[in-house]
């Protein structure tokens, strides 16, 4: 069975061509950066995500500063933003070496101004401060990010909602409607449709949404009993055998 981590490390949507680049030595060939960048834009358009392929782009940028393309970096970070429970956003930042400010005044590098916005958004999601996330995302500060980037990223807002749902699903049995609205940035009918799509139920009379039981929202008190394995006893048995 495919585990969470194996899907993350190697999503089923990855093509053999990309797999070859991600896993082989061809990943270091600067001539392949175009293929990987095209693949990123494919992810942007079709709600796919492949962290390792995107890290391969950043690796090429790290070794070949001439290839650096701020738009690509920003798009990678936007995709990484919503990849909980994996720390992809920071993994991407780890590969971004400090670089001198762009020498070309005609083409200012948008990354230095957008990076603090993206980082703040990431931290808000990390800290489950969802209403604050939406407020920040809709604010004037993030306007450039919205108008130039996330608008192109199909399903970005739904991806954020995915992060919310993962957090809510684990922590709640039932959650108030108003609270869920503020977390998902949806109201009224939109919320009803969304909740229905999730398979969650609206308990209209008391104004709460019931989250179906899952592995995480069903805490049980347990007592863990010890289990003795034979190897733990080998020393004793060996000694006894020697004596006998």
């Amino acid at each position: 069975m495919a585990t969470v981590a194996s899907v993350w490390a190697s999503p089923p949507t990855r093509t053999p061509l990309i797999e070859n680049l991600v896993s082989g030595v061809d990943r270091y060939n600067p001539n392949n950066v175009g293929i990987l960048e095209d693949y990123l834009y494919h992810q942007i358009r079709s709600e796919e995500y492949d962290c390792l392929a995107n890290l391969a782009i950043l690796k090429l940028y790290q070794f070949n500063p001439d290839l650096y393309n701020p738009d690509v970096v920003i798009n990678i970070l936007i995709k990484a933003l919503t990849s909980s429970p994996f720390p992809d956003f920071n993994l991407c930042l780890s590969l971004l070496d400090e670089r001198p400010i762009s020498q070309n005044p005609d083409e200012p590098d948008p990354l230095p101004t957008l990076l603090p916005v993206l980082t703040t958004l990431y931290n808000l999601l990390q800290q489950c401060r969802f209403p604050a996330f939406w407020a920040m995302y809709r604010s004037e500060e993030a306007e450039a990010l919205r108008d130039n980037y996330t608008v192109e990223c199909v399903g970005f807002e739904d991806a954020v909602r995915g992060v919310v749902i993962r957090a809510v699903k684990a922590a709640f049995k039932r959650i108030g409607k108003a609270r869920l609205e503020s977390y998902l940035d949806l109201s009224g009918d939109e919320l009803a449709v969304y909740v229905e799509k999730l398979g969650w139920t609206f308990e209209v009379s008391i104004g709460v949404v019931a989250v179906p039981p899952n592995l995480d929202n069903n805490p049980q008190s347990t007592v863990v009993q010890e289990a003795i394995q034979l190897p733990q006893l080998t020393k004793i048995i060996k000694h006894a055998a020697l004596i006998a």
Binding site: A5, N90, P219
Partner: protein, 609 residues
Amino acid sequence: MSQQRTTLWEAELEEDLQDVDVNLAIGNYGQNGTYDDAQPRIDETTLLAVQQQMAQQAAFSQVPDVVKRFIVHFHQAVLENNLAEITVAYESGWNRLTEKFYAKTEWPEAEVIAPLVNDDQIFLILYRELYYRHVYSRLQPDIDDRFHSYENSCELFNYLLNSDGPVALELPEQWLWDIIDEFIYQYQSFCVWRSKVKSKTDEEIVLLSDESQVWSSYSVLNVLYSLIQKSKINEHIIALQEGKSTGEIDEIVGEYGVRPLYRMLGYFSIIGLLRVHTLLGDFTLALKIMENVELSQKSPFMRVTACHVTTFYYVGFCYIMLRRYPDAIRTFVNILNFIMRMRQYHTRSYQYDQINKTADRMYALLAICSALSPMRVDDNISNIVKERYGEQFTKMSRGEEGLPAFEELFLYACPKFISANPPPYEEGDQLAMYIEDPPIEPAQRHLSLFLSEVRAQAPVPTLRSFLKLYTSLDAAKLANFLDADEEEMVQQLMVMKQASRSVSRVDAENEKGLLDGQMASTSDLDFVIDEICQNMVHIAESTLGRKYAGWFIRNTEHAQRVFDALRNSPLPIPPKTNAPAGKAAPESAPSAAPRTGGRNVAWGGVKAA
């Protein structure tokens, strides 16, 4: 390129030797301006050659006889591929002579000792490998040492990789590991040194801008990947795991892979890549490289202790950066246990200090992980963590206010991160800007990313301490305790929930590769929020049943040891009675065990009271 460097080096040699009487005369020739003007250049070159030869002869005469004998012997052992003799020379001879003659100076230059080894170029490359390693570890390498050690490494790897077919050379595994280890160390050391622009002389800046390929990341990766591919080590490991026979494996790995030298260099190169990728901040790729490697002490590749320890240190560290603290804890506990067991055998090894230092850093990392994801670990290990880092651990377990302790331990224990790219040495004005406004150091960059993860889960410890007291609790009441509004508190609860789940390699048998894993609960305390009328938090705790077995096993083993000691100690009675005593021994064994146990129970009771 190399020509230019050679002359530079000669010039320096000349300067160095001016103190020596014999060379003063030679020095005078070079410095005498009138000769320069009067004679054609060609004469000067001849003169230099003569000078150099004389200097070498002078240096040669100063090499102690015991060192000369050692080198001749060493060379002979290498020529004969006599691994036992090479090992003795490598592990003890070299170090002993270093202590005696070269504790504070370089070993003789390879050119000086060349006559002793019939100018054997391969041996001279190996000799230089040791020569430069000694310079790096005991002295201050200057720019020429750094450039030349790179050149020598390239010559060595060229010889191994680009000769006609595999070379017949054989070296001890320990040395092969040290070659790769040192290669990466010198690369890392160069990158750090290169990034310090302010302290560079004009001459160094010129050299650095001319020779931007020296110690470049691409060249280092090239060597490691080439060794991996030549040796077909990955195919080898997979074949081993599939249980293929020796014959089949030989078939698979080909003419290079069958030779121990290439096989081990290939394996060590995988570990080398793990390290290089980590140093460059690519933690996913670092673990991906290890895809086929089994982290088991039984692996035939784990015979070199230093390699074993390095592997676990970097794997554990990568797990931390991937926010997989339980996996990191398991990795560290595993190797620290191993080091503890090996300690009695390894105290004399020349690498003992290095291993101990790495172990101490792993204890620090373990303290970090345990604070972020509390987990029961082996008593022996957790006691050492408490002993060494107890103070920091207490601080780190308090959330936000513990950040300085996280910072302190992280910076102490993290790898020596490097930047992939040099400062812009070739562009004068950019270099000035670089000095004006230097980029953040790599270690600081990674630290701040790590701290952002820590900060995100800062409220968890406090919340946890409150939840532990209840089985169910009104959220408003909890918010009141925490002096927070209810919404804020609910958000913190969600953070806590996330912090108590982690991707983890639970089922190592079925999970292929170090990156694989599934979601697992990492906390003994669990809860759920039920928002009906008012928010109720329901809390459940998993407890461990009392553990008897471990206690009984320990005490039985203790009793057996006591019994053995008693039986083996001479009795102060005539030898005649000795035999019956021996015969009676097996009978007394069972009675001895409960007695020891009984005493300990009583002792436990006293303590409780």
